[in-house]
């Protein structure tokens, strides 16, 4: 292995503390976009980004190994379905963080998905998401857009989030919508009032389209291109809980890789030169067991990978503090260890995109938790 433990962490400890004004410190006039793709079910990082430099992998999961993998460097490969990500890699616009997770080890989807969004430690305790709190801190109250029917916890914490997931039939007449607005106001229904205001003020770009991931990601590019529109988009992809028949180059997990790649492709093509002011980042609640199970699938685990793309990345790299796959290096002798607190990646990403000082985010978004700063290693600042 080329990457040795701890070597890369040292620089990040020397970050200067900058006091807590609630304003962007390096405010730029450029509109920067952050796109989150939530991979629900627990993404198998070892299939998305296999560690070719570690001979142990074969021993644990002979049925799940990729036949044709893309080689990223001497240690890591890439799933063949992630071909757009590979194109971007060649342009210096794709990165992977490997052996990473939120600090949650109990392996429940629901608790894990709650924490990957809230950024907290105790499931269901926090009622807002780290991205929502980040937007609040940056005074970007109406910048969030979810490409799903419900509002993800991730974006909660600001008053006016929007979501887009087009219905088939038409809205009632405007005068009736206005009457409903008055009814909500009259009844002091603050939440409903906020929502109906967002509905009334929807931009023209938020019309048409359908509910497929393909259409949603194309539509999202258009909405993000609006200089006054949202700058955050959150996608949900489900189905990563591959307990059985996970497949390798083809199969269940491969189909999911293709969906991720399609979203990235549509955003890359749709955003055009604005892709350079964009960061795409994946979330997942946990990784999966290193060893395959009886049904050629994998169980809930711990460490996984974060896939990133966009011009706001510093360069193409696999950023990792590789823990190794020997049984005694695994978490509870079964899962890939997480050596990088994913919250540090999230915080560094919003530091770069929202032009906020890392320390401010650490303090106001992550309750001063002990999270490392990777901003300079990973992102353009």
């Amino acid at each position: 292995m080329n990457c040795t433990r701890r070597s890369f962490l040292q620089g990040s400890l020397a970050t200067l503390f900058v006091g807590g004004l609630n304003l962007p410190l390096f405010a730029s006039s450029v509109k920067k976009n952050l796109i989150i793709i939530s991979l629900r079910g627990g993404m198998d990082g070892l299939t998305a980004v296999p560690v070719i430099g570690d001979p142990m992998l074969k021993k644990y999961r002979s049925e799940l190994l990729l036949d044709e993998k893309i080689k990223l460097n001497s240690d890591f490969g890439l799933h063949p379905k992630l071909s757009t990500l590979h194109e971007l890699w060649k342009l210096g616009k794709a990165s992977v963080v490997h052996a990473t997770s939120i600090p949650y080890t109990q392996r429940s989807h629901f608790d894990g998905q709650n924490l990957m969004q809230s950024g907290g430690i105790v499931p269901y305790k926090e009622k807002t998401g780290w991205l929502g709190r980040g937007l609040k801190l940056a005074n970007l109250d109406d910048s969030g857009l979810a490409l799903s029917l419900p509002m993800p916890l991730l974006l909660r914490g600001i008053e006016q989030n929007n979501n887009f997931y087009p219905a088939h039939n038409s809205m009632p007449r405007r005068e009736i919508v206005n009457k409903l607005r008055s009814a909500y106001e009259g009844a002091s229904e603050e939440k409903l009032l906020n929502v109906i205001d967002v509905i009334i003020n929807r931009p023209i770009t938020m019309q048409g389209g359908n509910q497929s991931l393909d259409s949603l990601s194309k539509k999202a590019s258009k909405i993000l291109l609006d200089p006054l529109g949202p700058r955050i988009a959150v996608f949900d992809i489900e189905g990563f809980d591959t307990h059985a028949a996970q497949g390798n180059d083809e199969g269940e997990h491969a189909n999911k890789m293709q969906e991720i790649d399609m979203v990235i492709k549509n955003l890359y093509e749709g955003l055009g030169k604005e892709f350079d002011n964009t960061l795409i980042l994946t979330l997942t609640e946990f990784g999966r067991t290193v060893e395959q199970n009886g049904g050629y699938g994998t169980e809930h685990g711990y460490g996984s990978a974060i896939l990133m793309a966009g011009g706001l990345l510093k360069k193409s790299q696999v950023f990792s503090d590789w823990p190794g796959l020997n049984k005694n290096k695994l978490f509870e002798n079964r899962d890939l260890f997480s050596t990088i607190d994913a919250r540090g990646i999230y915080a560094s990403a919003i530091s770069s995109v929202l032009d906020l000082e890392f320390e401010q985010i650490k303090k106001n978004v992550f309750w001063n938790s002990d999270i490392p700063n990777f901003t300079e290693k990973l992102f353009k600042v």
Binding site: E63, M151, R156, N161, Y165, A167, N169, M171, G294
Partner: protein, 487 residues
């Protein structure tokens, strides 16, 4: 307390009699078990499993036969879908569900049925919504409502649908007879534990994470569950019946939440072990607390207080978990706290309440809804499924095993609120079965009648609804005012 009829039921229609005592009206519904009303004989779990078996068995043959011809394969596959009712039974079962909610006279009982179906939710995978969710609701969940919670958990845990849903057939003891054999026979296929069912049994169905179980508990729970699975055969493939297969069961001692099973003092082994563990889980304080809280959350408020939960726990303790008593206690809590707390309704309940109060008869499909092998469901038959999907609440297709989350924040995104407006705007089309001359029944007097029956602040509600001018616009107003969205 006029809103109570909506709080625990679906509201009163224009010609319904107003019950004298709302609380007694509600609790009486749990004195007896209520069968579903439906004109035709309903398909059983076994009937539907046979159709599923036919589907996967014939599909495998088609795959081989049309290996090289994708188009022909798709054509034949569509015929097979129609032959086995793959697209038919979801709207069929939804129609039964909505027909009963509206017309069988025990709306509180139906609400409770919906609640348990969501507590023990199946999620959208492997054709569960096509053939299995309906019979699971009718034959596993519903009859259990007349038993104890423990009996309900046993029924659910050993049901075909839940075992299929949570992969327990792939949960094989590595030290079992079959496990040892398969792991030492030289071929690469290895078998082992699958924790999926074990984890959800603890987390979602019974004690919840608040009980403090850890990974070792989950592993031992999975070991207890080994052996329970579908019986595979060449003919049945993975649609075989559920049974306990001792050769797959992981023998030896297990410890769950501090209690040891199959030890010197506790010699419960084999298939009986699961029943013993479920008994202990259901008698755990965290289980009562968790379920009582969920009941309050469904009927009263997103954030119930301990005072609200306690009477349900008391009823549980006193009756040894007898569900009709727990249901009655819940009705009482909803009655006592009903004036002070409002609950944002999930879309399906909201839709049924609107249909009840506004007297829509045909939104859920035709009166005659009979499966004929080979016939594809008509558009009007599938309508109910599409409506629920578009409202964000396809009740048989939860995306995850924790079902639909019963909290306001889950249901108030702009797009979800748009859907309610869009569908209320469509309500007019549900009048299709009604003769033209009867449509004029939606006059001021109609609204006065239903609003005085169903709302605690009728003057205000009536004023809001009548402020809209057409039949269509009044539907939109009525369905989306705060008093209808929340009760």
């Amino acid at each position: 307390m006029s809103s109570y009829f909506r709080k625990v039921g679906f509201g009163l229609a224009k010609n319904d009699e107003i019950p004298n005592d709302p609380l007694i009206w509600a609790t009486n519904q749990f004195d007896n078990y209520h069968d579903l009303i439906w004109s035709e004989k309903l398909p059983t779990v076994e009937d539907q499993r046979e159709k599923f078996r036919q589907f996967i068995y014939e599909d495998e043959k088609l795959r081989k036969r049309f290996r090289k011809n994708r188009m022909e394969y798709e054509t034949e596959k569509n015929k097979l879908r129609a032959q086995t009712g793959e697209k038919f039974f979801e709207p069929f079962e939804l129609s039964i569900r909505h027909h009963n909610a509206l017309h069988n006279g025990v709306p509180a009982f139906e609400r409770m049925w919906h609640f348990w179906g969501n507590h023990f939710s199946l999620s959208d995978k492997d054709f569960l919504s096509s053939w299995h969710y309906g019979p699971y609701m009718r034959e596993v969940i519903r009859p259990s409502m007349d038993k104890t919670f423990e009996e309900m958990v046993v029924e659910v845990t050993t049901s075909w649908a839940m075992i299929h849903h949570l992969d327990n057939s792939e949960n094989i003891g590595p030290n079992s007879i079959q496990g040892k054999r398969e792991n030492s026979d030289g071929d690469k296929r290895k078998v082992g534990l699958n924790e999926n069912h074990a984890r959800e049994l603890l987390e979602l169905h019974t004690v919840s994470p608040a009980s403090g179980y850890n990974q070792a508990d989950v592993i031992d729970m999975a070991r207890v569950l080994t052996g329970w699975g579908k019986k595979w055969s060449k003919k049945n493939l993975w649609a075989g019946p559920i049974g306990f297969q001792p050769e797959r069961h992981d023998m030896g001692q297990k410890t769950i939440l501090g209690k040891t099973y199959n030890s010197k003092n506790n010699k419960i082994t084999g298939n009986k072990q699961l029943f013993a563990v479920i008994k202990d889980l259901c008698n755990h304080a965290s289980c009562r607390e968790f379920v009582a809280k969920k009941l309050c959350q469904h009927f009263v408020t997103d954030e119930p207080s301990q005072d609200m939960i306690n009477p349900i726990i008391q009823a549980w303790l006193k009756s040894d978990g007898f569900l009709p008593d727990i249901h009655k206690a819940t009705m009482k809590v909803a009655f006592e706290y009903g004036n002070k707390y409002k609950k944002f309704l999930m879309p399906e309940t909201w839709l049924i309440q609107n249909a009840k109060m506004l007297n829509f008869k045909h939104y859920w499909g035709p009166d005659k809804f009979v499966f004929i092998a080979g016939r594809r469901p008509a558009k009007r038959e599938k309508k109910i499924q599409w409506i629920l999907e578009d409202l964000g609440h396809p009740v048989f297709r939860a995306s995850q095993p924790n079902g639909f989350i019963d909290k306001e924040d889950e249901w108030t995104s702009p797009e979800l609120i748009i859907r309610r407006m869009v569908y209320a705007n469509q309500f007019q089309s549900y009048l299709k079965g009604i003769k033209k001359e009867n449509r004029s029944l939606y006059n001021n007097e109609f609204y006065e009648k239903i609003i005085y029956k169903n709302f605690d602040n009728p003057e205000n509600v009536l004023k809001l609804v009548l402020s809209a001018n057409t039949t269509q616009n009044r539907f939109v107003m009525f369905a989306n005012i705060p008093e209808v969205l929340k009760v």
